[in-house]
């Protein structure tokens, strides 16, 4: 990512000023986070209706209180093999721009304060294709949290392009 945030050299007490709440979850062995402000709700996963000819990471569409929203499988999107549904499978409903979509996750673990001034650019270990889904990494205590870019993950422009 191009947004290189300066690494703060200040004391830890001030770090809170720039902290923002993030919803964090595990995918595979890593911990990822999305801004809590973008998250509308978390629901248990109900099977989606498959949409013919949609990209493989689009699981389908579900009914969210009368609105039809798409559900994207996070693992498939990141090129990982999908996991079968279980008790902890959830859909995180998020809003990007003016569209709402669901992101299917194996589980959610926590809400965390992420000190934004300590976010570092993603090391170029991820593939070119997945690099754009990432907003940076941050060390919080023992954990390394990878921040996700929901807009790129949903990527409505690409979906519209496919439909055209």
């Amino acid at each position: 990512m191009t947004t290189t945030k300066p690494i703060a050299e200040t004391t830890e007490t001030i770090a809170d000023v720039n902290a923002e709440k993030y919803l964090v979850f595990q995918i595979g062995n890593e911990t990822y986070g999305v801004p809590l402000l973008q998250v509308q709700e978390i629901r248990t996963y109900t099977p989606a209706t498959r949409v013919p000819n949609a990209p493989h990471y689009v699981l389908g569409v579900i009914n969210l209180r009368g609105n039809i929203i798409a559900v994207i499988d996070a693992r498939t999107r990141f090129g990982l093999p999908p996991l079968p549904d279980d008790e902890s499978t959830v859909v995180v409903v998020a809003q990007v721009n003016d569209k709402i979509f669901g992101l299917r996750l194996d589980s959610v673990s926590d809400v965390m304060d992420i000190p934004l001034d300590q976010v570092q650019p993603t090391p170029p270990i991820a593939s070119e294709a997945t690099q754009r889904f990432l907003n940076g990494v941050v060390q919080v205590g023992e954990r390394v949290v990878i921040l996700l870019n929901l807009r790129e993950i949903f990527d409505i422009d690409a979906l519209n392009h496919l439909a055209a």
Binding site: T49, N53, R65, I68, I100, L159, A163
Partner: protein, 671 residues
């Protein structure tokens, strides 16, 4: 028809309230052009609606009011307190007339003219007095010293001097003389000016209407009047004092004057105004669509919860719980249907108000118009319907005014004398289309270009495409009409049309051909529309097709089939070969079925045979947009939510047919 009238009143009351609020806002704040525009738009729409309903008096009065507002808008005049008062009085008068129209039909009010004159006088900065300040009118508020006590009988006097009125008969002198015999409580100038063609420059067309209190006999008053002015027309009628409001100061407030035809049993406008407040409790209430949406979504959730509850029953469930669940199910279904029905109405609800308007407008303009309506059974979300009323009124009116040529011109051009305007509605590809088509003269692109140059939008050297020129029509301030009529041509219409349609998330486009006519196409999204659907199953997936497209169904084995070049399948249905579309294939599922059902679908005269596994039954479905939060899905018009809360996609039959026929054309072309 009742619902139509009710809709008119609901809207009218809304607009009247809107005007009032805007006026109050204007009075208390800085004149902001947007607010003035809002005022103008209310008046404009109200005028159109009342004309459509045949309330000519209302529409005429509002037209006058609109003209007055025009100078507020154009010249950015300040809204003085006097002007605001007058405007508000006008709004009161509209309200009173509206109320009276419920029982009396198309009624006018004599005070309307005066009020308009006062408004235009106030706009021109003249002090507000009696309507025509230059006319000899005695100051009614100052009775003479020898005026009779207020209890003296009152008379309404109409005094129309002979047309040959000359200098020796001075009406002012006459009126002053009257003051000596009694008290002129009110004095209003009345004019009956004929059209210019018949106007005699030296004739007198003015007259006066007085309310006069005197202790003398009417005969004496009459004698006095006739003596002073030979050949004058004089009428004297007693005024019922009980119903007469107490004399007021110089400015006669129109709401307080009684009609000149004093039938005591007829309620005066003033009392009608008072009554309006109490009588106006209508049979319907207006609820914001958000509230209905919220209700609708809540009901959908209940339906889903209900189906979960139903499926949670098992062998151990006791009888009482079963009975309760069953009863609950019935009520929920009822509730669901009723809430859905709140929002849906056939477009005929809207379309039916136009034939009358077309007839009247055409008659007024001396044009012959045959008005056709098509697709009026298309059901539409109520909000959409209501919001489409104004744009369509404008479009249809424009078609008559600017589109259709006068009969003689049409004859010269070898067209039938009677022009045709066609209003149609249909649903396709997940959208509702409404079309206004006329066979008139089309859009004169050259005139549009000239006007655009005049407005400084383009320069002399630009030669924009026809599409760009058509776009200009929808810009605020653009109007090619040569003169302002009460029909169109104020440059407010088309930009309002565009704005209204776009606020619905829709779009408007125009096609036109010189000499052949124009076609305005409104596309509005299908936020919520209901239809009868047929459930189709392939593998474990469920799809819906609109029931209207279904012609018949056959067992696949029972039909003779063939394939062009081994890939393009056709089935023989009663001797006719129809392209076969395998739904499994279409939705990307493995397909090797040699059995199943064939459903023949038809749209716009073309057919396809759709091979499916089985039919899941017929049901009413609410169309939901896939684009709102996702994207368009080729081949599908939208989605719906099934009773169990799952989503099912709705086939876009016209798209399926188009694809199939394109494919077969390609193949036959190769052959």
């Amino acid at each position: 028809m009742d619902s139509l009238i009710q809709l008119f009143y609901d809207e009218a009351n809304e607009m009247v309230e809107g005007m009032e609020q805007v006026l109050l806002a204007l009075e208390s704040g800085e004149p902001d052009p947007e607010t003035v525009n809002a005022l103008f738009r209310y008046a404009h729409s109200f005028k159109g609606n009342s004309a459509a309903m045949g309330f000519t008096h209302l529409s005429k009065f509002t037209h006058g009011l609109e003209s007055a507002m025009e100078s507020l808008r154009k010249e950015q005049r300040p809204l003085t307190p006097e002007l605001a008062t007058l405007m508000l009085q006008a709004v009161d008068l509209i309200r009173a007339l509206l109320e009276r129209s419920r029982t009396e039909g198309d009624v006018g009010d004599p005070t309307s003219e005066t009020l308009l004159q006062q408004i235009s006088a106030a706009l021109n900065g003249e002090p507000i007095q009696t309507p025509a300040p230059s006319e000899p009118s005695p100051n009614a508020s100052e009775p003479n010293g020898d005026a009779p006590e207020p209890s003296a009988p009152q008379y309404r006097i109409f005094y129309q001097p002979a047309p040959t009125l000359s200098a020796e008969h001075d009406p002012l002198q006459l009126l002053n003389e009257l003051q000596e015999y009694g008290q002129v409580i009110r004095c209003r100038f009345k004019e009956q000016i004929p059209p210019v063609a018949q106007l005699k420059p030296d004739a007198c067309y003015g007259g006066w209407e007085l309310v006069y209190a005197t202790a003398f006999e009417p005969a004496i008053v009459r004698a006095l009047l006739e003596l002073t002015a030979e050949g004058a027309e004089v009428r004297i009628e007693p005024v019922q004092q009980a119903s007469e409001p107490t004399p007021v100061a110089a400015t006669p407030t129109p709401a307080q004057t009684t009609p000149p035809e004093p039938a005591p049993e007829t309620p005066s406008v003033a009392s009608a105004t008072a009554a309006a407040a109490t009588k106006a409790d209508s049979q319907s209430i207006r609820v914001s669509t958000e509230k209905i949406d919220a209700l609708m979504n809540l009901v959908s959730e209940i339906v889903i919860a209900q189906s979960m509850l139903t499926s949670a029953q098992n062998a151990d469930t006791d009888e009482r719980t079963r009975a309760a669940i069953m009863q609950m199910e019935r009520h929920v279904r009822d509730l669901h249907e009723r809430v859905m029905a709140i929002r849906l109405l056939p477009v005929s609800y809207l379309f039916n108000r136009f034939p009358r308007m077309v007839r009247d407008t055409a008659a007024k303009l001396g044009k012959k118009v045959n008005f056709e309506i098509e697709g009026e059974e298309t059901e539409l979300d109520r909000t959409l319907l209501e919001s489409l009323s104004d744009p369509l009124t404008h479009l249809i009116r424009n078609a008559i005014d600017h589109g259709i040529e006068p009969p003689d011109v049409r004859r010269q051009q070898g067209k039938p004398e009677t022009g045709t305007i066609k209003l149609s509605a249909y649903q396709s590809e997940g959208r509702i289309y409404i079309e206004v088509r006329d066979d008139g003269k089309g859009i004169d692109t050259e005139r549009v270009r000239q006007k655009a140059i005049q407005l400084g939008w383009i320069t002399e050297h630009d030669s924009p495409s026809d599409e760009t020129l058509y776009d200009f029509i929808f810009q605020p301030g653009f109007s090619t009409a040569q003169q302002v009529s009460d029909l169109s041509g104020r440059g407010v219409g088309m930009d309002v049309v565009k704005r209204n349609v776009e606020s619905l998330g829709g779009s408007i486009s125009v096609q036109s051909k010189r000499g052949e006519g124009s076609r305005f196409l409104l596309r509005v999204p299908l936020t919520l529309a209901i239809m009868d659907g047929l459930g189709l199953t392939v593998a474990d997936e469920h799809y819906i097709t609109p029931l209207t497209a279904v012609v018949e169904a056959f067992q696949y084995e029972s039909l003779q089939h063939t394939a062009l070049f081994d890939q393009h399948e056709m089935v023989n249905v009663r001797g006719e070969f129809i392209p076969l579309v395998r739904l499994r294939q279409f939705v990307g599922l493995p397909d090797n079925s040699q059995d199943g059902l064939v459903v023949v679908l038809e749209q716009e005269g073309q057919q396809i045979a759709l091979l499916i596994d089985s039919i899941a039954g017929q049901q009413q479905v609410v169309l939901k947009s896939l684009e709102e939060n996702f994207t368009r899905v080729p081949g599908f018009a939208g989605a719906t939510i099934l009773g169990d809360g799952r989503v099912a996609l709705i086939l876009d039959v016209s798209d399926l047919i188009r694809r199939a026929h394109q494919a077969s054309e390609r193949l036959t072309a190769v052959a």
